[in-house]
Structure formats: C-alpha cells, structure tokens
Symmetry: C2
Subunit: 135 residues, 2 copies
Amino acid sequence: AQLALERDYELNRDIATRMRVLLDISRDAIAFVALNTGRITDLNGSAAQILGGSVEDLKGAAFADELTGGAGTDVLDQLARAGRSDGAARTELTARRTRTPLMVGVTLFRAAGERMLVCRMDRADHAAAGTQALN
Amino acid sequence: AQLALERDYELNRDIATRMRVLLDISRDAIAFVALNTGRITDLNGSAAQILGGSVEDLKGAAFADELTGGAGTDVLDQLARAGRSDGAARTELTARRTRTPLMVGVTLFRAAGERMLVCRMDRADHAAAGTQALN
C-alpha cells in the first residue's frame, strides 16, 4: 500500500505540473474559485489581465470583490446558479477594476469534497468574435 | 509519512479533477504529448475537433500521424525544437485529416522525469483574429 501511494504521489505530482503548464499556455482567461471561502485558488495570466491585477495579487483574493453583477445581486450566488444550470452555463458580470463587461462561462464541480467553480472570462464585446473563430 | 502521503494523495486527486475540468472548459485546442513515445496522453474536445477525430479516438494516438510539416520534416523534432526555443514558441503544421493549416504554440516541460509537450493549436487563418480579440 505504501508503494502504491508513492507511485500515486509521483503520478499526481506529474498532473500538478501539467496543470500549471496548461494554465500558462491557455489564452482563455481562467480562474478557480472555492465556493466555501469565495476565494480565487488559482488563475492564469489572461484572467489576471482581464481583472486588472497580477496573478500573485489575485490568488487568494475574494472573487466577488473583483466583479459586479446587477444591483442587489450576490456575485457568487449568480455564478453558482449558472454553474448548476444545464447547457450553456454563462452569465454576464463586469470586472470591477477595469470596468470590462464580461461573459463568464462557469462549471461547478466537486474536488476533495469541496464545491469549486471554474470560470472562463471573455470580454463581452469580443464574445461573438471568439465564438465565430471556433467555427 | 504514511499520513503525509495519504494527504498528498487527496490533494493531488483534487488537482486531477481540476485538470479535467480545465481541459473541458478551455476553448483553446490543447494536446499533451509524451516525447519518448510520441503519443497523445491527453487532449480536449477543441483539439479533437481541429484534428478531425474524437477525444477517445485520438487519446493514445501518435501525434506525428495527425500532422504534416514541410517535406522531409520530422514533426516531433519540429515541435520539440519549437518548445526548446526562447520567446514565442510557435510553429506551422497542417492537420492531416482535416487539411487545416495550424499555428501550434508549444511548451516543452518535464514531469515525473519524462519530457512532455503541451501544444495549443490555432487554425492558422484565424490566428490573427484570435490574437486581436485578446488585446
């Protein structure tokens, strides 16, 4: 069992490295958010740029502080609701620092017993062009 | 030490889940390739689409069989060379099945002692538009 665990450890350290490289190579602006704390657990350079800060600065920050929704809207609720919905889970928010309107794609998932969100942020004014480039 | 390993195991299983979710939410077409075997170890739906197959179909396939370079060019060599270069590591290749010209961004990295490539594939004719949407 010890050996199996050590093998898993090696295997998973490998996955952690891949994860880092994948985040770095992605042009999609990606942020992971822990729902229980509301904090950004990881994000890439594209996400930091769209939110108007640095990766170091924003890692651990409260995601809801970086975004504004409609009046009286709880941003995390809005995201979690979008993540739970079927089909195209997208919702509109604005990056607070840069005042950029965003279309945010959300997936809600569970890892190690915790509810997490992964958010892909597109500038709303470029969202249509981005979709077109895919087809 | 046993407990520490078990804790690492939990932590890393969490990373594996995040990795899967991240690949799925990315619109960037991403493939991981093991350099020693030349095989695709993981890819997402966007990558499968650009290569003209399914994720199941292409996972484990020889990456070089899916791409063509210039005459007499070894595709893996070309990718590894791009991955080793400084600055913008991009190289032009064509998806064999769909005959789509691609601009491939490459990062070479080492995980668990193995050399790996992560490749981000853009349709070459849309590369300019994609870059523009980022700025």
